[in-house]
């Protein structure tokens, strides 16, 4: 179908029989550094304010300005806000990618584009809306220098009219966005209106995509996962943050800094925290470990290359038993890889980071709420288990804006673990740092500065006996390593259990972790609706896995483990951990294109493996 054939002419917005409401994706293709991010966020927020489930995903280059960027907003009335493979509505502002962007669209999609690009010549099966952005921007923006930026906001107005977004919500979102710059707000608001007015007068709605108010976002917030993790840390009493900038983790530390400066000053205006930008990741993890050793809740945030650099120190943390929380906001590796693309590719690396026999607990949040909560859990676990704890975000979660429930104020006291005070030492009479008094593999520690001559011990990465003395004795070594293994077993019980949805009569199950959640739940529906395939579901929230996983596998004939990496890293971890007789039930679904995984990819793979 071509726009010409299907578009009813001259009678305003058509009421189409196949109206598609609150269930489509809009992609804005621009150039980075051109201010489009603001326009996109306003759009996202306006839809959110209309009560419509929505997600926004920024696909940006590893570059500062001038390269192509795509921002995709998905609305879905059922709440499926994972990435959708197909783009239904394109806003083509970037001359460099416009051609390919348009050619990639499914038939029936709509395209708003900068008029001079003449994209309508490319295909006949799309709805085209040419807009003279340059002409429109001139009257609303007298300052020629700003026009490049303001031009982008105009499409918000055009889309408002075309999709039926409440202009008032755009206004609210816009003034919120520019809350500290009222002048810029007015300027941009005028541009939105100009776009809207022009569209209303000149465009004929021909495509079927509409939004309508719903009530699915009441009481919710919009936030990036990194900010949520930062807030979680702030409310979890983090006191030492050491970091080194790296995409996509930098904003975790930077947001933390901003919030801490506002909310973590004591009554005298003094900081209850220290945030240090270290010279590199070897230093940031070293500082965080030093701080954890001396008793602080300490953390660092990094991404793949930083994880690799931290290997030696993390092994020390494991072996000398030092609490520290490491946020790994995963990006596409190996090596420098694609710094602005998402993946779950550091699972294997982190699980056993460092040489020798090592294991590290990982928490794997899927959404901002969990970033907030699990930050708290991570600090508790680090101190309880006296070991490095990884929190595995990914770029999709960390850097994109997500709808989320308001965070619950944590009321439980911090779990500071087994620390002996000077009085404890007097009472106990003796102290051995690495003695498993309680049988759970976790020993008692003292902090430097404890005023008691019995408090001191020597921390080292070399072999030691229970009294923390250097020892090369095989029996001391084995005893200590066995205790560490016992401690890791204890960790199985302490980490958050998986989310489980057992479906009656399902013979297959799906196991995922982290942000795969969003594609997974949509895929479950696809499997049911399109293939009548009942599928139980488990989302792992942590490594080591606990018994639930084994039971889940046992309860199904085939288990599809979904990974956002080439080597099936979650699959491998499960395969290693699960009883031998269950291994043959495991199947692997993998996606590693750098974008967030989408439901269709999962569905297709399962359908194929099921032979349907």
């Amino acid at each position: 179908m071509s726009t010409v054939e299907t578009a009813p002419v001259g009678t305003g917005v058509p009421i189409l029989s196949d109206r598609i409401v609150n269930d489509f994706s809009v992609q804005v293709a621009t150039v980075n550094g051109s201010g489009s991010q603001t326009a996109n966020l306003i759009l996202l927020r306006a839809l959110f304010q209309m009560g419509i489930p929505v997600s926004g995903k920024n696909l940006f280059p590893s570059n500062i300005a001038g390269l192509p960027t795509w921002y995709t907003i998905r609305t879905n009335k059922k709440g499926f806000i994972g990435r959708k493979k197909e783009i239904d509505f394109l806003v083509a502002m970037n001359v460099e990618t416009a051609r390919e962007d348009v050619l990639d669209l499914p038939a029936g999609a709509a395209v708003v584009y900068d008029e001079p690009l003449h994209l309508d010549a490319l295909r006949t099966d799309l709805h085209f809306y040419p807009v003279p952005f340059t002409q429109l921007v001139t009257p609303v923006c007298p300052n020629a220098k700003l026009r490049k930026l303001v031009k982008n906001i105009i499409y918000d107005g055009v889309l408002a009219w075309l999709l039926g977004i409440d202009l008032e919500e755009i206004r609210k979102a816009l003034y919120k966005q520019f809350s500290t710059k009222p002048k810029a707000a007015d300027l941009n608001w005028n541009a939105v209106q100009a776009g809207y007015d022009w569209a209303k007068e000149n465009l004929q709605k021909a495509d079927p995509f509409f939004v309508e108010r719903m009530d699915a976002t009441a009481g919710k917030i919009i936030i990036e996962g990194n900010a949520a993790a930062a807030l979680g840390s702030i409310f979890a009493g983090v006191s030492v943050v050491t970091w080194y900038p790296i995409t996509p983790s930098s904003s975790l530390a930077e947001t933390l800094m901003d919030y801490a400066r506002k909310y973590r000053l004591d009554p005298e205006g003094k900081a209850t925290f220290a945030i240090v930008q270290a010279e590199d990741e070897l230093a940031s993890i070293g500082m965080a470990l030093g701080a954890g050793w001396a008793g602080a809740r300490s953390m660092t945030a990094t991404a793949g290359p930083g994880i690799s650099l931290m290997s030696e120190f993390v092994g020390l943390g494991y072996f000398a038993e030092i609490p520290v929380v490491i946020f790994d906001v995963q990006r596409m590796g190996p090596s420098t890889g694609l710094p602005t693309r998402t993946a779950q590719g550091d699972l294997l690396a982190c699980a056993t980071l460092s040489h020798g026999d090592t294991y590290h607990p990982m928490l794997i949040p899927s959404c901002p709420e969990e970033c907030f909560e699990m930050a708290g859990t991570a600090f508790d676990l680090a101190e309880e288990l006296q070991t490095p704890i990884f929190v595995m975000l990914d770029l999709d979660l960390g850097m994109n804006y997500w709808m989320a429930d308001q965070f619950k104020y944590p009321t439980a006291p911090l779990k500071r673990g087994k620390i002996l005070s000077s009085e404890d030492l007097d009472r106990l009479g003796s102290f051995e740092r690495y003695r498993d008094v309680d049988g759970d593999g976790i020993c008692y520690r003292t902090l430097p500065g404890t005023e008691n001559p019995a408090a001191a011990y020597f921390t080292r990465g070399t072999g030691h006996n229970e009294a923390a003395q250097y020892s090369e004795r095989p029996d001391d070594w084995v005893r200590n390593m066995d205790r560490l293994a016992r401690k890791f077993k204890t960790a199985r019980e302490l980490v958050p259990p998986p989310a489980i949805d057992e479906v009656e009569g399902a013979s297959i199950g799906m196991v995922v972790c982290g942000t795969t959640e969003f594609a997974a739940v949509e895929s479950l529906e696809q499997l049911a609706d399109e293939h009548s395939l009942k599928t139980s579901y488990m989302r792992l929230k942590a490594f080591p896995f606990n018994e639930n996983l084994i039971d889940f596998i046992r309860g199904h004939d085939r288990i599809y483990v979904v990974d956002q990496n080439r080597d099936g890293q979650l699959y491998q971890l499960i395969r290693t951990d699960c009883p031998a007789e269950l291994v043959s039930r495991l199947r692997s679904v993998r996606y590693y294109g750098g974008l967030p995984i989408d439901a269709r990819t999962i569905t297709d793979s399962i359908v194929e493996q099921e032979g349907l």
Partner: protein, 350 residues
Amino acid sequence: MSTVAAPPPPKTNRIGLELKQYRGLKTTLCAGCGHNSISERIVECCFEMGVDPSRVIKVSGIGCSSKSPAYFLGTSHGFNAVHGRMPSVATGALLANHDLRALGVTGDGDTASIGIGQFIHLMRRNLPIMYVIEDNGCYGLTKGQFSATADLGSKLKSGVANDLPPIDTCAMAIELGATFVARSFSGDKKQLQSILKAALAHDGTSMIDVISPCVTFNDHQGSTKSYTYVQENRHDLNAVDFVPFFEEIQISDEIEPGEVREVTLHDGSTLLLKKIEEDYDPSDTMAAVKTLHDHAQRGEVLTGVFYLNTQKKNFLELLNLREAPLWQVSESNGGRPPESALREIMEELG
């Protein structure tokens, strides 16, 4: 030299501890190793200064030198970290608890080879730490290979000569912002004691490079880090005397008052630098670097206090930290903002 005969050392020091309470385990280093002498000096100095061992942390990297914290201050917490990264661990520990006093002990390999990056950034921050390099120009623990402080032309036991110039850690430290920079010799008990004490009294990075011969691998003819070489080629920039804040200064009358430069240190103690080099101003960074350079050119081992700045803020002071150490931050004392704060934030994000 100061003249008053030292009174017999008291059994207990000003905080009521005995010397033996400053000792550590029996050393497992080679007999005669310079590092052992340094450990002994640290024991004496901490005892005599009345340092509270429970407030001290001993932090080190990896090497014979880095093992030595096990051999002094047995009632202080110690952290023998990974090779070359003691500075970051020390920084973190002090962030967590700024009431601690950090003694960093490292080797020339640990600091100048693998660890030069962290060294530089620590100096730049002026972290309050006594940073002692036990410098033998080689890797003792891995059997004597050259380190980055080995002098040009210095020879291994096998006869192989070093063909790269040494890194002068003192010149670097001065250049980078350390506020107390000195070099001494493990074999000079008196000078080393005075310098260590002054370093303990200083608030900021005190960087002390102590030439500390490795008797097993680098004490032969042809080595410039042997006892003999140092003894024969040593040159004192200044004679150093230290008077702790709890004692009275008595200046020897062998020396004209004008020849002595008195520096009051952070804790009220006094460092007396008796000017052996004419007109040397220990607060002048460039003079210090140039002096080091000139002596090095002549193959001399210059010792003494090279540089001192008692004014500069240390790293922890830059951070606007609350008074009680950060490790104590918990939900009830500032570690968890009130519920209203979270509400406010949620509203903003809603």
